[in-house]
């Protein structure tokens, strides 16, 4: 059987191929072709021998099969405690089985593994905190996704997403010109209210190089304006790169290791070129994970760190509020029950658990902030992480997964949910649309903008 014209082992490399795949609405032909996509078993086994290191092999063989990971998995809990949703079972029956069979698996197996890797795991890594042996199944699912991607067994949207990074160096078809023009346009829109507001592009040696999520450019340009205004009010010496401005990585969700490297290197190149003191990324979880946590390893950096110190937006914001660069009008602090979503990608997986709560202490009237339970590094995934939000094929499973977060929010009694992460923000919006529990959700930037004091010298002349 030959490979399909849309569903095959080749990554998307050109704009034309991207457009062709995009025009296959919902991936109908793509998934049809997947039914007869052959598995290149020699390639699969060869790849495993080259890339499957001793850590994963040891994890798979030492697993005591104790089942203590079961309760840690929100997908197990929400799916009526289906034993087939136990993390250890999910990884043993997919990656474990591929290793035991030395790669000799068939099409049906690969489709089952695809569903397991993308619809039964969001790579939230919570199970890693509950395994006595310290086995992190999220890490292994990340690896399995790479094997599946290489064989062409990857959800349609993520094949496109990874292709976008290869063609545009962004998760969407947003060009470098689109980015700088949109940013400039947004600044223009606001300069009457904020005299002197500007977006410095490619300024060498700035204190801050700001990177974003391409969908802010395409769908939420006001986010760019808010970022510019807050940097402006804080008196920051900042810049954006005209190339290497995209911090996200759908390639990471897709398991396209090569595209991961291409994408993150474009950001690191911008750092090398502009030599900023620090990079600040937008309110996104997986973008931070990709560029700051995993990226250095993809790029082969020996110290495991990006070329310049790179921080999440919440770190910058906490610092600006702490040092008084941004001042909050106490009258305008949030005076309603409010809760906070901990993003797996920078809270569990990058330790930023206290910094967001510090921000809450500045912007919420005492007594109104209510934590979810569990929280911080033990928080549950929003329900849409790891690419789950974007996959049409698994929409039903995703909607069910949202119930965990819905119930966590409901039991706080909060009407406002602060979600400083694009994925979480989407998931919480979708859960409101799906289940109508009467909540609002927000990034930090628009909230801060409503309560920040504008220094006298930056006020517009009457």
């Amino acid at each position: 059987m030959p490979e399909g014209t849309l569903c095959n082992r080749q990554p998307i490399q050109t704009d034309e191929a991207l457009k062709t795949l995009l025009s296959d609405t919902g991936g109908r032909q793509y998934y049809q072709e997947m039914q007869s996509l052959p598995v290149d078993t020699p390639l699969l086994w060869e790849t495993i021998q080259k890339t499957c290191r001793s850590r994963i092999r040891t994890w798979l063989s030492m697993c005591a099969r104790c089942g203590m990971c079961a309760d840690s998995c929100f997908l197990y809990r929400i799916n009526d405690r289906d034993p087939k949703q136990v993390p250890a079972y999910k990884i043993q029956s997919t990656l474990g089985e591929i290793l035991r069979r030395k790669g000799r698996v068939d099409n049906a197996f690969m489709q089952m593994a695809m569903e397991t890797a993308w619809a039964k795991c969001t790579c939230c890594n919570r199970c890693g905190l509950y395994c006595p042996h310290g086995i992190d199944m999220g890490v292994m699912f990340g690896y399995l996704r790479g094997l599946l991607y290489q064989q062409g067994f990857v959800p349609w949207e993520l094949k496109i997403g990874a292709g976008m990074h290869r063609v545009y160096h962004a998760q969407m078809d947003v060009t470098d010109a689109d980015f700088t023009e949109t940013f400039a346009w947004m600044v223009e829109e606001n300069e009457e209210d904020y005299p002197g507001l500007a977006v410095p592009v490619d300024k060498v040696g700035a204190d801050i190089m700001y990177t974003v999520n391409a969908r802010e450019v395409k769908h939420y340009p006001e986010d760019l304006a808010e970022a510019a205004i807050l940097f402006h009010l804080a008196g920051e010496n900042w810049t954006v790169p005209s190339r290497g401005w995209e911090q996200t990585s759908l390639a990471m969700f897709a398991g396209d290791w090569e595209a991961c490297k291409i994408q993150v290197e474009s950001v690191y190149d911008a750092m090398e070129r502009l030599k900023p003191k620090r990079m600040v990324g937008t309110e996104c979880g997986h973008a931070h994970r990709a560029t700051v946590v995993e990226g250095p390893y993809w790029a082969g950096r020996k110290d495991g760190l990006p070329p310049v110190e790179s921080i999440h937006y919440v770190e910058w914001l906490a610092e600006a509020l702490r040092t008084g660069k941004l001042k909050i009008n106490p009258e305008k602090r949030i005076k309603e029950p409010v809760t906070l979503q901990d993003s797996c990608n920078y809270v569990r997986n990058h330790g930023l658990k206290e910094i967001t709560r510090e921000i809450m202490s500045y912007i919420v009237e005492p007594g109104y902030f209510i934590d979810m339970s569990p929280n911080r590094e033990h928080n549950y995934c929003c329900g849409g992480g790891g690419g789950f939000n974007g996959i049409g094929l698994y929409r039903k499973q995703r909607n069910k997964a949202l119930i965990t977060k819905r119930d966590q929010i409901l039991s706080t009694g909060a009407k406002l949910v602060i979600a400083p992460c694009h994925n979480c923000w989407d998931a919480i919006r979708d859960l409101e649309e799906e289940y109508r529990i009467g909540i609002r959700w927000s990034f930090l930037k628009p909230l801060i903008l409503k309560m920040v004091e504008i220094p006298e010298h930056l006020k517009p002349e009457e």
Partner: protein, 187 residues
């Protein structure tokens, strides 16, 4: 992992990762599953201490090699040994009864559990001199030897690998995943 670049953060992460999981109820995972925690420690405390510190065992070492270890008080040793056997029974029962554990369990898992508990069962038979003492002593020694020999070739290798794997994940979180930001992971 950038182990050498961030050695201190790595060691700190590794030690925390081992410490909180070796401490009964030290990790959130232990606290959320108290019954399993009691069985786990009931089994492992005896499984580690009895072979090394039972008076009958330290005497052998003393005679053979001249090394003398402090030995356990007989009552403590009895409690620990019974702890192993009773916990092993309930761990096996847990495998059979809980669907989330049953799906993960195969003959190998029961074999390992039996292999680990057998020297303790026969040890107790000797302790209370039930049946033919010298026969059960022989079986006890034989089963003990089988257990020791099988460590490197079976999942019993976790005696060592537990520490290595815990240390590795601890270093992962300690170096790469946030250990250098704030207080470190709350296991």
């Amino acid at each position: 992992m950038a182990y050498t670049a961030h050695l201190k953060a790595g060691i700190r992460g590794a030690l925390r990762s081992i410490f909180f999981w070796i401490l009964p109820f030290g990790a959130r995972g232990w606290r959320t599953q108290p019954l399993m925690t009691v069985l786990f420690f009931g089994f492992h405390i005896g499984a580690v201490c009895i072979p090394l510190f039972l008076a009958a065992h330290t005497m052998i070492l003393q005679k053979a090699l001249g090394i003398s270890f402090a030995s356990l008080n007989q009552t403590v040793a009895d409690v620990m040994s019974w702890g192993v056997v009773v916990s092993a029974f309930f761990l096996a029962l847990r495998r059979l009864v809980l669907p989330e554990v049953r799906i993960l369990s195969g003959p190998y898992d029961y074999l390992i559990l039996f292999l680990s508990a057998a020297p303790f069962i026969t040890g107790l038979l000797c302790r209370y001199e039930i049946g033919d003492y010298s026969f059960f002593l022989l079986i006890h020694i034989l089963l003990g030897e089988i257990l020791l020999i099988s460590i490197p070739f079976t999942r019993l290798s976790h005696i060592l690998l537990f520490f290595l794997s815990r240390a590795q994940l601890g270093m992962d979180f300690g170096i790469k995943r946030g250990g250098m930001k704030g207080k470190g992971l709350n296991w």
